[in-house]
Symmetry: C2
Subunit: 337 residues, 2 copies
């Protein structure tokens, strides 16, 4: 365990480094926080902290920078959370009530506002149920023999695909067919729909039922992501060379991020912080991800996340990620009535 003074100094080192992005010297600590010890004493403490693995220095005679262990300790024990003022809260919430009451608009807005607030990449994953159920299916006549199958799922998402229908059926017949299917399939999940299929007498009904099962399964697979703030994140000194920037650009896209986020299993009241190699993906080993889940237990679950260099303003970011997750839960609730 760290002595109080060492912990204090570690705290200062991390704060300072987060603010300046430059290795922190003993001099800087003493001067800027009027410690009542000399730089030599601080140097001794820094050496001890380094011994214990909380900080390192890039070369013999540079200041100290936090190690991942240091950040971890900082986040758990030292960090002062920067509360979200009433003004800030109001400004943010105002933007949501200004926007049309549409989930996708809100998610997009959340990503954008959060990215702006933390100056890093913000990712919002559209809420999903672990298992989605069909709410209603519809067949829209396109041309003889083909119709658009539209499925509304119980997480509010819509899936569509073009399907074959009997050549001689027009919209009226398709309506009848759809209502027949809905009577049996509504509120079932993909698995169940598939088991119901053989119960239909009509060949086409059976085939369409299987299409619907596919449709529902598809809806449950890939959740849509809203990504913002790439430019702001890349402007940070961590990406001061073009190759590091290219690396980042390569990974900061929906496909990669989806893999990094993983769908939450239950709504999380807090925010998880994954520092450096605590992330599974190796490209994230220089990144920190702050992630929180939103939604109702048993309902659709989404994620709010912020990605940035491990040198991240944790005290600022973490409460904001939490706040946005709570806010999205509320907004979701509002949509559900």
């Amino acid at each position: 365990m760290l002595t109080q003074r060492r912990a204090d100094i570690l705290n200062l080192v991390v704060d300072e480094y987060i603010g300046t992005a430059a290795p922190v010297s003993s001099r800087a600590l003493v001067d800027r926080h009027n410690l009542d010890v000399s730089t030599a004493t601080v140097r001794n403490e820094l050496a001890a902290l380094e011994q214990e693995g909380y900080i390192t220095h890039p070369y013999t005679s540079a200041g100290r920078i936090p190690s991942n262990t240091g950040y971890r300790f900082y986040v758990e024990e030292l960090m002062a959370e920067e509360p979200i003022g009433a003004d800030e809260r109001r400004t943010i919430e105002h933007q949501f009530y200004q926007a049309p009451p549409d989930l996708d608009e809100w998610l997009q807005l959340a990503a954008s506002v959060l990215a702006g607030a933390v100056g890093n990449v913000a990712v919002v994953a559209r809420p999903q149920r672990p298992v989605t159920h069909l709410r209603q299916a519809q067949l829209v006549h396109l041309r003889p023999g083909a119709a658009l199958l539209v499925g509304v799922l119980d997480d509010g998402s819509i899936q569509e695909r073009i399907v074959a229908v009997p050549e001689d059926e027009g919209q009226p017949e398709l309506l009848t067919r759809a209502s027949r299917l809905n009577d049996r399939l509504s509120l079932s999940d993909s698995e169940r729909i598939r088991t119901i299929a053989p119960q239909f007498d009509d060949d086409d009904d059976r085939r369409l039922t299987l299409e619907i099962a596919d449709l529902v399964a598809e809806g449950a697979s890939a959740s849509q992501l809203f990504i913002e703030g790439i430019r702001a994140a890349l402007a940070q000194p961590e990406f001061s060379t073009t190759d590091r920037m290219l690396d980042a650009v390569e990974h900061l896209e929906a496909y990669e991020l989806r893999g990094a986020l993983r769908p939450p299993q239950h709504p999380d009241p807090g925010a998880r912080v994954l520092i450096g190699d605590e992330n599974e993906r190796s490209w994230l080993h220089d990144w920190t991800m702050v992630i929180a889940a939103f939604g109702e237990p048993g309902g659709a679950l989404g994620s709010v996340a912020v990605l940035g260099p491990t040198r991240m303003h944790y005290g600022h970011t973490i409460p904001r990620v939490r706040y946005f997750a709570r806010l999205m839960t509320e907004l979701l609730h509002e949509l559900d009535g």
Copy 2:
């Protein structure tokens, strides 16, 4: 007008510069293309070409690089188009027939494959009609008093929003209501739907009709973009400094690109090439955009575009943009049956 020899030399300068990204010297031209004149003669011709504005050089004693005028002349008169081999064609088309027959999948795939083929940013804009019509509207019961209004439009897109419905109506009543609305509104555009609204006796029908009009209008506004290849474009020497890279990253996103593309008015058999300041947006003044439209005349129109530095492999890119536009037209046709 240029003499034949000057045109030949300009051609070589552009080819060479496109390949190497380095200013082209008289020596390089003579050596690498075994011209039967001396470097001094070539220098004289280069001086003349510079006089006439087709090339410049960055400083007194560097090789020559094409000016925008030079590129323009090259594209119109000199460039050798690199045909798409049967193999390449097969490989590409195969990928589309492998993919599920879904428009969005295809558009995404097109952006991705095209980006890979040209090594620059590829953008595909989802086809849109100048005026969209409602194909069918549907009301899906969510909870007492609220339903999901789903509109299928005649360009194949789907729009949705949550609307208020009478508290006491369940799915059966909503079905009746929807079919009543469809009878009157189907195949009308937003304008017309709005004028029909007052003809309904029922208050709720009138209100829902206006919602539908909105929905249709919304569907016609912003076309979805599929963007790929950012990383490849940024890896080029034009973006060798982080600030230029940041500038590019800032602009290479859906919102900005939508503004740069502008919806096509009619399907274009060729591909337009906009070099440097021929682009309206000032951020594109160092870029070239190659853009082609696809779709049927009178039907929904989309765009295929490639964006890259003005030093772009024109002879390679242009035929491929054209080819993808044609391919998308065919695929669109296939979806429409």
